[in-house]
Symmetry: C2
Subunit: 247 residues, 2 copies
């Protein structure tokens, strides 16, 4: 599953941003022409990237990945070092930490929202968390190419480093007493931590956190999907910063 | 894919709520015992539901649906009539309308968040929208059993009916000028409308809307996943209502 990008929008985004090396594009033979396909072919021509038409049968190897008849062969996503965050020329930085988000659809969706919400980086551990594979890339709608992705061996060491650089650590925890909208996300560097769907955030990280927040559940029901929870908290921060800048 | 419930949590939720008729539960033979499995077996015993152990090979028929060795055979989800909303004994009602959300994972995720956010119903058209199948049910983490699901032949007629019953129609539209947090969701009946990922909300429904709102995107990037967009708007309403009730 590594090193393929599936789907029209994703391949188009990939070619447009041009920050990944593409070795080949494969299109399905006798496909109904549409605007996106023409754009992809034009971009491939402009950039001198090989593109080939393959019969439908050959697409079976890609499984049920909704490739929509378009697949790009690419170099893997390049991960950044954590220091890349501190070097950014911004007054306040905001990052997302996923502590054990194993479902690639959720992980991709979190990355997509992080880009929309103007976050600077996504930090995730090399174990017990999805890595950025083709499914994550597709679920992110290509957002993986628009944000710093930082894979670390020790999340605990990464959190220590963030704290040393004046980041506030905000942990989402179903048992927290404060609601997510009761804290102030403005005028500070912060990292929002999300845990696994099964177990939440590990106790080591929870203990290092400066704030614990929860999303209220108005029904006798389990809990939110982690990607939705991430979006709700990230956008509370967006909203506060936009309202703050207007004052 | 119809009429199966996959996965330990989902089957457990299903048995616990007990509002769907379950004809049979199938468990994988020689599976490592765990607490959830024991709970499922106990609930099946309590309710007199047949349960059987099948060898691993037999589970192949369910495909790659992360069944975790547990599948329940159930009656289809029962849809409600739109009048069920108006008959609820609540001062103000809130509903979600999906106008062409075709991805079953997104649709299931929207239903899950709607339950967490205390919404009263999800209204969706019988065409150009996912119906509530096994994938939707799994993505909803069983939430389909906790909310009124209303499938309508004409979304336009449904919106007219809501308006006649004093509902305000709030459309999410990438071209709107107001941000989603700039309107007041308190002390009124309202319906939030979400469109398809490709085309947004149909013009008929957009023209009938009382408010149009957008979620600001802080990056040169396409847009949010529809399920995340839904969660962000629903939780703005939750937040306002909780803050309002405290005043």
């Amino acid at each position: 599953m590594e090193n393929f990008i599936f789907g029209r929008n994703n391949v188009y985004e990939l070619l447009k941003t041009g920050n990944r090396s593409v070795s080949k594009i494969v299109l399905m033979k006798n496909m109904k022409e549409n605007h996106k396909i023409s754009q992809i072919i034009q971009l491939a021509k402009d950039k001198g990237i090989v593109y080939q038409f393959h019969p439908k049968e050959k697409f079976a190897q890609f499984g049920d990945c909704s490739h929509q008849g378009v697949v790009a062969y690419v170099s893997p996503v390049k991960y950044k070092e954590i220091d890349s965050i501190f070097q950014k020329n911004k007054e306040f930085k905001k990052v997302i930490i996923t502590d054990g988000v194993e479902d690639p659809h959720n992980f991709g969706s979190i990355i997509r929202t992080a880009v929309c919400a103007g976050f600077d980086a996504v930090i995730f551990p090399s174990r017990r968390n999805a890595s950025v594979n083709a499914t994550v890339e597709k679920s992110s709608a290509g957002a993986v190419n628009h944000i710093d992705l930082i894979m670390v061996n020790s999340l605990s060491a990464a959190v220590d480093k963030l704290k040393n650089e004046n980041f506030w650590i905000i942990a989402t925890d179903i048992k927290a007493s404060d609601n997510y909208y009761e804290i102030d996300y403005c005028n500070m560097n912060f990292a929002i931590v999300l845990g696994s769907e099964e177990k939440g955030i590990s106790s080591t990280i929870l203990n290092k956190s400066d704030f614990k927040i929860k999303i209220p559940i108005l029904n006798k029901f389990d809990s939110l999907n982690v990607a939705n929870a991430a979006g709700i908290v990230m956008y509370e921060a967006v909203k506060q910063s936009l309202q703050n800048s207007k004052d």
